[in-house]
């Protein structure tokens, strides 16, 4: 068929229609720092106008391009400059008012989530950053579409333990303020080490410094496609690990190419720059679109059993290699996500007791992101949660990679109970936390854990 074989054509069609290949997110980054004003109302008005003006065509453009190529674009989102930088002359009241204005702007143009209610405090905090952080529980419980992220650590600065402890308090308060929805507010809040400047995925998307005025970043999906490709191959042939990695690379190549094509088209249609394709394999709660199921296809019958970390490492590495060959504009988080509530197989493994917090932590040392969408008992104390975050931040800082915590302490529920967040946020069983109440003395030292040595790697 012209330059294509029928097999190639049908393979592409099948990837989209049977294996859940989609573009998971088209995220438009918008610089709003030019709205900084001492007058709170004028600042909010400028932010509102800029968001609506720059992003009003995002959904119609995405819908048209989605039709043209016959590929679904699941989410259309906005990432703003770190809003703490607009709050230096303001207090928490303005922080909340600004968040509500952004929520209203998002509703006006039908965008479901806006990231950028963010602060970067790995080395210390400014008054604006403190105002933003202090307002988070109220913001996330009284807005619908605003997402918050706070970077508390980096490989070059070390870990701001005071900020970690503060964020533990903020997470618990946020969950408590949204108790009727199983603490869902905390699902819109990410604590980062080495936050990427161009991540298109919520809740951690924001427009970092060094980014253009306006930019389109793409998050591709693909666990379903990779699972299916491996399933078909392994049914017909006996593969070794090199051949398994090759099959994942080939599939990641196709997935990435789709992302870049869509990203460039959307950027051109909007008249803005194209930024990056994020290669992350982002699961959804739907059966067949799960990173956990890939592990099962690879022969890990119970996710969390020995071998799970190696399987994730293999998958993560092969996805990056295939994706990097496909595009020279790769960025963001780019790895395999393991968000428990958003991945039906992982959620089930946690419910069965096969997959524990400690194993998830180990898996995050070789994959993208971190402890993501994990529900824990609502009665967790601040120090234990802070120590849990500290452990995850250490993995990122020492290994010079991004790690994050999106942990939901579910009010009134205990280990083994179920938390339900709904939609793409899914649902999960609550993970027990090992030996709570035994880390207080450690985290209370406060201050900063120094930046790690970057030589003598062993």
């Amino acid at each position: 068929m012209g330059v294509f074989t029928t097999e190639e054509i049908l393979r592409t069609v099948e990837m989209i229609h049977k294996e859940n290949l989609d573009v998971r997110t088209v995220t438009l980054g918008i610089n709003v720092l030019d709205a900084a004003r001492a007058d709170s109302n004028k600042m909010q008005e400028r932010v509102f106008k800029k968001i609506v003006n720059k992003a009003k065509s995002l959904i119609p453009v995405c819908n048209e391009i989605s039709r043209r190529y016959g590929i679904p674009i699941v989410n259309k989102r906005i990432a703003l400059s770190p809003l703490s930088q607009l709050l230096e002359q303001h207090n928490e009241t303005t922080a909340l008012a600004l968040a509500k204005t952004i929520d209203r702007a998002a509703r006006e143009i039908n965008i479901d989530f806006v990231g950028g209610f963010s602060a970067l405090v790995e080395k210390g905090w400014t008054p604006g950053e403190q105002s933003l952080i202090n307002s988070i529980p109220l913001v996330l419980s009284s807005t619908e579409r605003v997402c918050a992220s706070v970077n508390v650590a980096s490989t070059s600065a070390g870990i701001n333990v005071d900020a970690v402890r503060r964020m533990a308090e903020i997470i618990i308060k946020t969950a408590q303020r949204t108790a009727e929805h199983d603490g869902f507010g905390a699902a819109k809040l990410v604590v980062f080490a080495n936050i990427p400047q161009d991540n298109p995925f919520m809740a951690g998307a924001y427009l970092g410094s060094g980014e253009p005025e306006c930019v389109v970043n793409i998050g591709v999906s693909g666990p379903g496609v990779i699972k299916r490709a491996l399933e078909v191959k392994l049914r017909h042939q006996k593969l070794d690990f090199i051949e398994i990695a090759e099959e994942i690379k080939r599939t990641a190549f196709r997935v990435t190419r789709v992302g870049e094509l869509i990203g460039r088209e959307v950027a051109e249609a909007l008249g803005v720059e194209f930024g990056i394709v994020d290669l992350s394999l982002a699961p959804t709660p739907y059966v067949g679109d799960s990173v956990g199921e890939i592990l099962q296809i690879l022969g890990i019958k119970s996710i969390g059993a020995p071998g799970s970390t190696a399987a994730i490492a293999l998958l993560n590495d092969a996805v990056k290699k295939g994706g990097l060959f496909a595009s020279s504009s790769v960025g963001g988080l780019s790895g395999a996500f393991i968000p428990v509530s958003e991945d039906a197989a992982l959620s089930l493994a946690v419910g069965r007791g096969d997959l524990q917090l400690e194993k998830l932590e180990a898996m995050t040392s070789v994959s993208s992101v971190g402890l993501d969408m994990i529900a824990i008992p609502g009665d967790i104390d601040v120090d234990t949660l802070a120590a849990l975050i500290l452990d995850e931040m250490s993995i990122g800082v020492v290994n010079d990679k991004t790690t994050a915590c999106r942990i939901i302490p579910v009010p009134g529920k205990k280990a083994g109970d179920k938390a339900v967040f709904g939609g793409l946020f899914g649902e999960c069983f609550i993970s027990p936390v090992h030996r709570p109440g035994n880390s207080g003395q450690f985290v209370k030292y406060g201050g900063r854990i120094p930046a790690p040595l970057r030589s003598l790697h062993n």
């Binding site: 012209g2 294509f4 190639e8 054509i9 990837m15 048209e64 094509l261």
Partner: protein, 174 residues
């Protein structure tokens, strides 16, 4: 046209050469062991279409080749129908085989002035597969066309998709 066997292209090209012809373009395909070839060639003015037909026919054994020959004039409308890649789409249809699918799809395209550049259909077990590369003129609304084709799909219980050709380039070419 002929039943397929090794040596048909060699025999036909030898016949063309015998009349001092130069082959400009050639396309050949085999469908269920049946061979077809179409070619364009330049000849000295004295060679007639009938001479060429006879010469090629005689290149096979008696009654083996069915041959048609006619003078070729490049079409003035060809550019509209084959046109830029920006308007090329891939139409795929899969489902249970039944009478009239190809006709209904091609009729829908024809009434809108949509040209089929390339089309192939297959049967795998009982599954019908159609793949067609088409040119959608810029004044046609792709969304409406997709909806119309989907409706045909529903009525015939098959799945019909129409996607811009660039998605296939992106996923299949380095």
């Amino acid at each position: 046209m002929a039943e397929d066997r090794p040596g048909i292209v060699s025999a036909v090209s030898q016949a063309v050469l015998k009349l001092d012809g130069n082959i400009v373009a050639l396309s050949q395909t085999v469908l269920n062991d049946y061979f077809t070839i179409i070619l364009i060639a330049d000849f000295p003015e004295k060679v007639s279409a009938e001479q060429l037909r006879e010469c090629v026919e005689n290149a096979g054994s008696s009654g083996e080749f069915s041959v048609m020959s006619r003078p070729y004039q490049p079409s003035s409308t060809s550019s509209r129908f084959s046109s830029a890649e920006s308007t090329q789409y891939m139409l795929t249809a899969t489902g249970t085989d039944r009478k009239g699918i190809i006709h209904q799809i091609s009729q829908s395209l024809a009434t809108k002035g949509i040209n089929i550049l390339d089309i192939a259909t297959y049967l795998e077990a009982d599954k019908f597969i159609l793949v067609a590369q088409i040119v959608v003129p810029s004044d046609i609304n792709v969304r409406c066309l997709q909806d119309e084709l989907s409706a045909i799909g529903v009525s015939k219980n098959i799945s019909i998709n129409l996607q811009h050709i660039d998605i296939f380039k992106a996923t299949n070419r380095i």
